[in-house]
């Protein structure tokens, strides 16, 4: 009995998520230091893969936290916004850990950490404990296509959040695409993120449409998540076009990437509240 309660304490998802937040913050700091050293022309790194290890470990801890919640409810831990935010932070951290080595890795680490860490910390600080309790999925959200839809979408968020973050940093750091240096490298980081996220987002939306059709006979119903996802998808398609169009590269392209980040954050944070305002008591927004 004592053993099992000790195990439960060890697998307590809040502790795991807190540890993950610390790792993500440490990874961001290490990546920033590496970037500053390389900018100053110093030998950049004693351990070049430090940020990847730290952010990757943070991502794995978040997956472990979600697995613990899944074991508690004996199902997919995908019913709460709290869980979707944990999964998105994990997706971003793991995408960075596996997708970037060598060139641009410190810069991409800063971009990933600057989004994943605040997202996780704010989620931990501002989600009330009652709302944080794991909850099984209602029967309506069962079926094969629902987890496919959610997981594909969240995997896409990893790449797209990174692309958006790189776009915003590119805007802040100034310069044009034609100039060399940080903005141009940020554009490349953003492209890698977009390239990873876009097919997954498309797959997630199609899987959502199939799930919706299987569950209630409508494949598109213009609800809050759908409209915001469609906006994100259209903005990504726009970013692929602006990246190669003369006159739209550089700053306008980065503004589009920044909009991708903004709409993604709206999708993750606001769409449920909008729907709850309209229909009091509604628990899940698709």
């Amino acid at each position: 009995m004592r053993e099992s309660s000790r195990m439960e304490q060890l697998l307590d998802d809040t502790s795991l998520a807190t540890a993950a937040a610390l790792l993500l913050a440490a990874g961001t700091i290490v990546a920033s230091l590496q970037l500053l050293r390389s900018r100053a022309g110093e030998n950049p790194r004693a351990n070049p893969d430090g940020p990847q290890w730290l952010l990757g470990a943070g991502g794995y801890l978040l997956l472990l936290a979600l697995a613990a919640r899944g074991l508690t409810i004996r199902g997919w831990p995908l019913a709460r916004r709290y869980e979707i935010l944990l999964l998105s932070a994990a997706s971003l951290a793991l995408f960075y850990a596996f997708g970037f080595h060598g060139e641009h890795s410190a810069l991409a680490g800063v971009c990933a950490g600057l989004v994943a860490t605040p997202m996780l910390v704010l989620n931990l600080l501002f989600t009330p404990s009652g709302v944080r309790e794991p909850q099984p999925l209602p029967p309506l959200l069962g079926g094969t296509w629902f987890p496919v839809h959610v997981l594909a979408t969240v995997v896409s968020y990893g790449g797209l959040l990174l692309a958006g973050s790189a776009g915003i940093l590119g805007l802040v750091s100034g310069g044009s695409a034609e100039s060399s240096g940080i903005p141009r490298q940020l554009d490349e980081v953003a492209y890698i993120g977009l390239s990873w996220g876009y097919p997954w987002l498309t797959l997630g939306m199609i899987a959502g449409a199939v799930w919706s059709w299987e569950s209630w006979g409508v494949f598109w119903s213009w609800n809050s998540k759908e409209v915001l996802s469609l906006s994100t998808w259209a903005l990504c398609a726009l970013a692929f076009h602006t990246r190669r169009l003369k006159g739209w590269r550089g700053r306008p392209h980065r503004v589009v990437l920044g909009l991708v980040l903004l709409v993604l954050l709206l999708t993750l944070l606001v769409s449920q509240r909008l729907a709850q305002q309209a229909v009091p008591g509604i628990e899940y927004v698709f």
Binding site: G217, F219, S221
Partner: protein, 414 residues
């Protein structure tokens, strides 16, 4: 000075304009702006839900969208116009790029470069033994040698991946077909299945559906339905999250609830009529309804059935309260009874039974296969273009052990 333009030139300009990436950018911007505006700016209210009478558990999740009026946004002429223009742009782009992409993927590529190209190769490795070459660069094949002993290698991957651009644009056109098919030919009707009696589908009169039971102790866990399509008898298990196809339509559990029915006979054994609200054959307990009434008009008797909360959630095995009154208000009977039974009251013999009714939604939507084809094409195209970039590598090994390598996309990573 006005320059005269021939019709072909005008047509060419129009075509180039429609196929331009700049137009795509503006149209995407317009679409995003309208979608985001639709979220925050109130839109005209959409028409009310069809067939919204019975609603024990409304399982459709689109109520919020109706409140937030995105349906209205989608119907706005501006958004429809931008979407149509975007699809026209996509179609013209597909046709315009098809030839170019095809030429790119089928173009003959020299497998051996002029000597100067190798001399200026950005990547040069020294001390390479020819035996190690396959380990150094997988996929390189020997494409010849020179009299001086130099060997030439060539490798490529992802030759066909530019076709992914066409797949993505084609996917958008399939989605257009899905939207058109959905808008013009889809249908959705509701059918109520009473316990035990067959009901014909409104759109397929030869198809009879009979509710034969439940998977658990409530319809929320699933209902068993027998389908008689005229030439074939089949059985289906439907749950709120699991729809099934039968008779060419897709069936969904839309609502369910408790159903109650009574038969009455006089002391002489003559059957007496029993009337239910809305001329139904059963008393339906819809969402929010805690009691139902029926009448025996010939005797001036009114009955009230009050199920327990458990029974109201669709569990027909729970006891319920039955109350019978004469027209003047005199109470003939008021007691808790079993879900099925009979009783003699005021000179009549009343028998009753309890069951569940299920309202199904029967949907036909020819747009769905197009949606799947479009989505598949989009995903396939995006993966090809974005994840599998074409690359060509040329290498020359000289007897002094120097391997000169160049690619069509800058130097190879070390």
């Amino acid at each position: 000075m006005v320059r005269e333009m021939r019709p072909q030139q005008i047509a060419r300009r129009c075509w180039n304009f429609l196929a331009s990436r700049r137009l795509s950018v503006f149209l995407f911007l317009g679409a995003v702006a309208l979608l985001l505006l639709g979220i925050f700016v109130p839109q005209p209210a959409p028409p009310p839900l069809p067939g919204g009478g019975i609603a024990q558990t409304e399982l459709a999740p689109s109520r919020d969208s109706r409140f937030l009026h995105w349906v209205g946004a989608a119907r706005a002429a501006a958004l429809q116009g931008v979407a149509a223009a975007l699809l026209l742009n996509g179609f013209v782009c597909t046709v315009d790029r098809a030839g170019r992409v095809w030429r790119t993927v089928t173009r003959a590529v020299p497998r051996r470069l002029p000597d100067e190209a190798y001399e200026r190769a950005p990547a040069r490795l020294g001390g390479v033994h020819p035996e190690r070459l396959p380990h150094l660069f997988r996929g390189l094949h020997n494409v010849g040698s020179s009299p001086e002993g130099a060997r030439f290698f060539y490798g490529e991957r992802g030759r066909w991946t530019p076709l992914g651009t066409l797949f993505t644009h084609l996917g958008l056109l399939f989605l257009l077909a899905a939207a058109i098919a959905h808008g013009t030919t889809s249908s959705s009707t509701h059918v109520v299945l009473e316990p035990g009696s067959p009901t014909a589908l409104p759109t397929r009169s030869k198809c009879l559906l009979t509710l034969t039971g439940m998977a658990g102790d409530s319809p929320g866990e699933g209902v068993r339905i027998e389908v008689d399509s005229g030439n074939r008898l089949g059985r289906l298990l439907l749950t709120p999250a699991r729809s099934r196809s039968a008779c060419g339509v897709r069936l969904y559990v839309s609502t369910y609830g408790l159903a109650w029915q009574a038969t009455a006979a006089s002391a002489q054994g003559l059957e007496l009529p029993v009337h239910y609200p809305e001329a139904a054959e059963w008393l339906h307990f819809t969402e929010g309804q805690t009691a139902g009434t029926f009448a025996l008009p010939a005797q001036g008797i009114t009955g009230t059935v009050i199920p327990s909360p458990d029974a109201l959630s669709g569990r027909p095995a729970e006891p319920l309260r039955l109350r019978l009154e004469r027209a003047g208000g005199a109470v003939l009977f008021d007691s808790t009874v079993e879900p099925s039974g009979e009783r003699e009251v005021g000179g009549i013999r009343l028998a009753w039974q309890t069951g569940v009714f299920v309202q199904l939604k029967a949907v036909t939507d020819p747009g769905f296969p197009w949606l799947v084809a479009g989505g598949g094409s989009l995903v396939l195209g995006a993966c090809l273009v974005l994840w599998w970039r074409p690359r060509r590598v040329w290498a020359r090994w000289t007897p002094d052990g120097v391997l000169a390598v160049r690619t069509d996309r800058g130097p190879l990573p070390q």
